[in-house]
């Protein structure tokens, strides 16, 4: 019997590095030779991680990969967080790539849907961020990772800057399993400001000569916040934040949660809630949180990524944010997702559709935006073992009869929105479009963002529905209908049952919470414009041009 060879992966890596030999001076490859480099080190059928998420993009490498000779490089299996740039899908049009496992596809939601219907893409699964990262270490380990950093030294040490995001996770999975790591950097320098990725994990560096693209996804213009959103924010603060004493939390993207952030130093401060709620956050650097930070509301924030224009402000507020020895933000998507899952007592976010049981989805029949991280934040972690007051209270509401010491707590998972959303489309539906899509694409699972059994509260301008207090399917349905207003779902409610649910506090109307809808006025917002945010920040916040009106 011949002795097994346990070094085949390493040998293969050696061969790939040798194939690239003449293209690199040390680790440095000229940007004109990147496509040739990719053709040299990528093998047909490889699993490739092209770094990109809902924020930063390895855009130079994306263009280079889309330009490879498809007789040399084909049938790739792309394993990446974000399908965001046109090039991310171009590779499937040309046959360079065949199979896809991903998490988020916001800007390409319509095209990816068309390509999935057209059979251009063999879909593995749509994941959450944390789930995809987990699979990098089990069964979706990349052979080649194409990543982005701010700067590199000649040894390949990388400074990923405020937008570190996914990079450490991607590199960890690739470099330690005999894969190849190629980094595009804005500039090659003598000494990097701090080492985010040690050089021995990086095989090649390419100087892009311009900054990698970052999308300002988490900026919401206070000028666009409506009085209806302010009303829902007031209901959430009084009916949930104050009620449970939620200190540790994550906010999704959206105007309703931006309104909450801007009501903290005004409405919530008047209620005497400062220091009692919203002190510890898993959150990107939302510009709309600046007034709360400046008013002393916030103890600390860990971030998935950075936000365009916020870097100077963050560097000047190191008591609040996580920063490196160089002073700039250190973000980390995998750690922050984990923090949001296990160490936060509440997730609150918006959605496009909610069904009668409370399942929610951002999928419509022609758009597949993926999940990103919301299902990680917006789910009850069964592995949690530490107690906190809001977690215990929610657990008791859900299961009052079990002995306290054996009862699980519950994470608060809140969906907030207006009964009629953008374009007057109802948020409440009998059946999610996600089901239609799953059938059309023969998916095993409908792409549900937050499952009904994870949702604890729904907030609309009609009031707060506490699903923890519902004892059966019918009560749940009537609680959902009870806050669905004049949508078809809302008008289909059983008025008597809804009245009983209201008497039990399952549904709480604005007047039950002592909120007068006429008080929901934009003058309550701590900042009414992007310029107000700049003023609050003492001129440190530098908003991108598309958000300016001066």
């Amino acid at each position: 019997m011949s002795k097994p060879d346990w070094g085949t992966e390493r040998a293969a890596r050696g061969e790939r590095l040798a194939a690239a030999g003449s293209l690199a001076k040390g680790k440095i490859v000229d940007s004109a030779d990147v496509t040739a480099l990719l053709e040299a080190v990528i093998r047909p059928g490889d699993r490739v991680c092209l770094e990109g998420d809902n924020q930063k993009q390895a855009d130079l490498l994306a263009v280079a990969l889309a330009g490879v000779d498809r007789t040399k490089v084909f049938d790739l299996h792309m394993v990446q967080s974000g399908v965001v740039l046109p090039e991310h899908l171009d590779v499937f049009e040309t046959g360079v790539a065949k199979r896809l496992d991903y998490a988020y596809s916001g800007p390409q939601a319509a095209r990816i849907a068309r390509m999935l219907f057209g059979g251009k893409i063999e879909l593995g699964a749509v994941h959450t961020y944390l789930e995809l990262f987990a699979r990098y270490f089990i069964d979706l380990t990349p052979n080649v990772a194409l990543i982005a950093a701010v700067s590199a030294d000649r040894d390949g040490n990388l400074y990923t800057g405020p937008n570190t995001e996914d990079t450490p996770t991607v590199v960890e999975a690739t470099a330690f399993k005999s894969g190849i790591v190629i980094a595009q950097v804005n500039a090659i320098v003598d000494k990097v400001p701090r080492v985010d990725i040690p050089g021995d994990r990086v095989n090649f560096i390419v100087e892009a000569g311009k900054p990698f693209y970052v999308e300002p996804l988490f900026t919401r213009d206070p000028g666009a916040i409506t009085e209806m959103q302010i009303l829902t924010a007031m209901l959430a603060i009084k009916g949930i934040y104050a009620e449970y004493g939620v200190k540790r939390l994550n906010h999704g993207i959206g105007f309703s949660t931006a309104a909450i952030e801007l009501l903290l130093p005004t409405f919530a401060e008047k209620l005497g809630l400062k220091g009692k709620i919203a002190t510890h956050w898993a959150l990107n650097p939302h510009p709309t949180l600046i007034p709360a930070i400046e008013s002393g509301w916030v103890t600390q924030i860990h971030s998935f990524g950075s936000e365009v224009g916020m870097d100077d402000y963050i560097a000047a507020r190191s008591d609040v944010y996580f920063t490196g020895a160089d002073g700039s933000l250190r973000s980390n998507r995998a750690f922050c997702q984990t923090a949001g899952l296990y160490a936060c007592d509440m997730f609150i976010g918006s959605t496009l559709q909610i069904d009668l049981q409370g399942n929610s989805s951002t999928v419509t029949t022609s758009r597949i935006a993926g999940f990103g991280g919301a299902p990680n934040m917006g789910s009850d972690p069964r592995g949690r073992r530490h107690a906190s007051a809001p977690w215990l209270k929610a657990g008791e509401e859900a299961d009052p009869d079990s002995p306290a010491a054996l009862r699980r707590g519950r994470k608060l998972v809140v969906q907030i929105g207006e009964t009629f959303g953008d374009g007057n489309v109802p948020m409440f539906v009998e059946h999610l479009d996600a089901l239609v899509l799953a059938e059309k694409l023969s998916l095993d699972l409908a792409p549900v963002m937050i499952y009904a059994d994870d949702v604890t509260h729904i907030v609309t301008e009609e009031g707060v529905a506490n699903l923890l207090l519902c004892r059966d399917k019918d009560e749940r349905e009537q609680a959902v209908r009870g806050v669905a207003g004049y949508t078809d779902v809302g008008r289909g409610r059983d008025a008597k049952m809804v009245q009983r649910l209201r008497e039990r506090g399952v549904i709480r109307r604005p007047e039950d919470l002592g909120v007068d809808p006429l008080d929901a006025d934009r003058s309550l917002l701590a900042a009414k414009s992007i310029k107000d945010l700049v003023r609050w920040s003492g001129g440190l916040y530098a908003p991108p041009s598309k958000f300016r009106n001066w």
Partner: protein
């Protein structure tokens, strides 16, 4: 900085306020009386055809009141109803107000612009309204009435509104206010994104925004974004003599020709500001109102009160 709760009318944000709130807080307290108020339900005869919602005042508020005890007429567009666009009823209310000013003993009419231009759903009636308003406005001015425009709302002052504003005796503008005829999207659509990128909001405001309009003499006074500031700027303008004669118009024509000659080649408003003698043109957009007013008063050209 503390969180502001804005209940003091003089501290009300012009940009944030509704048309009605602007009028009521701009004039002497309690003095405003509306003509053809919403209770009379003079609504658009056209919007129903398109199954679009109508408004009881058709987005135009007209009436009279006092400003520092002087009896004046005032008109205000509601930018949140159809972008403040001119339709048949909307326009007729303003035409009527200007004509009535001739018969009543009125020296001053204020127009609080907040408009994207003519309402597409009633385009012909809207275009006719613009022409009628301009005629009525110039007849009022010829009779010695001062017509002052105030621009600082969400919709800006575009299209036919831009034309009417050009006929006014004087204009007050805030940083948020934009004055132009063609809007950013229209220019981009017709001339290409290289000519004008409508998504580059800093560019839009640098070009059409209140600060540039003040510096190149389109507007005669600059207000900070409060009703109080608009009131002060308006009162200051009204203290200057109003003239509307051949000499004035010829002087204005000459000024516009010289302006085109001086700045016509500039590719960006910041170049104009530098040419005007402003040392750090790049600091203008972020500059606080007080500092900006000092600079604008220093570099502004002679005002001929011709608009």
């Amino acid at each position: 900085m503390t969180a502001p709760f804005l209940n003091d009318p003089a501290a009300v944000s012009w940009y944030e306020a509704s048309a009605r709130k602007r009028v009521v807080t701009l004039l002497d307290p309690g003095s405003f009386l509306e003509f053809i108020g919403p209770e009379q339900r003079e609504m658009s005869p056209h919007l129903g055809i398109f199954d679009l919602p109508k408004q009881f005042d058709d987005g135009m508020i007209v009436g009279h009141g006092t400003l520092r005890s002087e009896k004046i007429f005032v008109a205000a567009q509601e930018g949140r109803f159809m972008g403040g666009a001119f339709g048949e009823v909307h326009g007729a209310k303003l035409t009527g107000l200007l004509r009535a000013a001739l018969k009543a003993d009125i020296q001053t009419v204020l127009i609080l612009f907040d408009t994207g231009g003519v309402r597409l759903q009633e385009a012909n009636a809207g275009e006719l309204a613009i022409a009628e308003i301009m005629r009525a406005l110039l007849e009022a001015r010829a009779a010695g009435i001062r017509v002052v425009g105030l621009v600082g709302g969400r919709a800006g002052c575009y299209g036919g509104g831009g034309l009417i504003s050009g006929c006014c005796s004087a204009l007050v503008v805030s940083e948020q206010g934009r004055i132009s005829v063609s809007g950013p999207e229209v220019i981009e659509t017709n001339k290409g994104v290289e000519e004008f990128d409508s998504k580059d909001r800093a560019l839009v405001w640098r070009t059409m925004g209140g600060k540039n309009r003040r510096l190149i003499g389109v507007a005669d006074a600059f207000a900070d974004d409060t009703v109080g500031s608009f009131r002060d700027a308006t009162l200051a303008l009204l203290e200057q003599p109003g003239r509307f004669d051949l000499d004035t118009l010829q002087a204005e024509q000459t000024r516009l020709e010289v302006r085109l000659e001086r700045f016509g080649h500039c590719a960006d408003a910041a170049e104009i500001w530098t040419a005007l003698g402003i040392e750090d043109a790049s600091a203008i957009p972020a500059m606080a109102a007080e500092d900006f007013v000092a600079i604008a008063d220093r570099v502004q050209e002679a005002s001929h009160d011709a608009r």
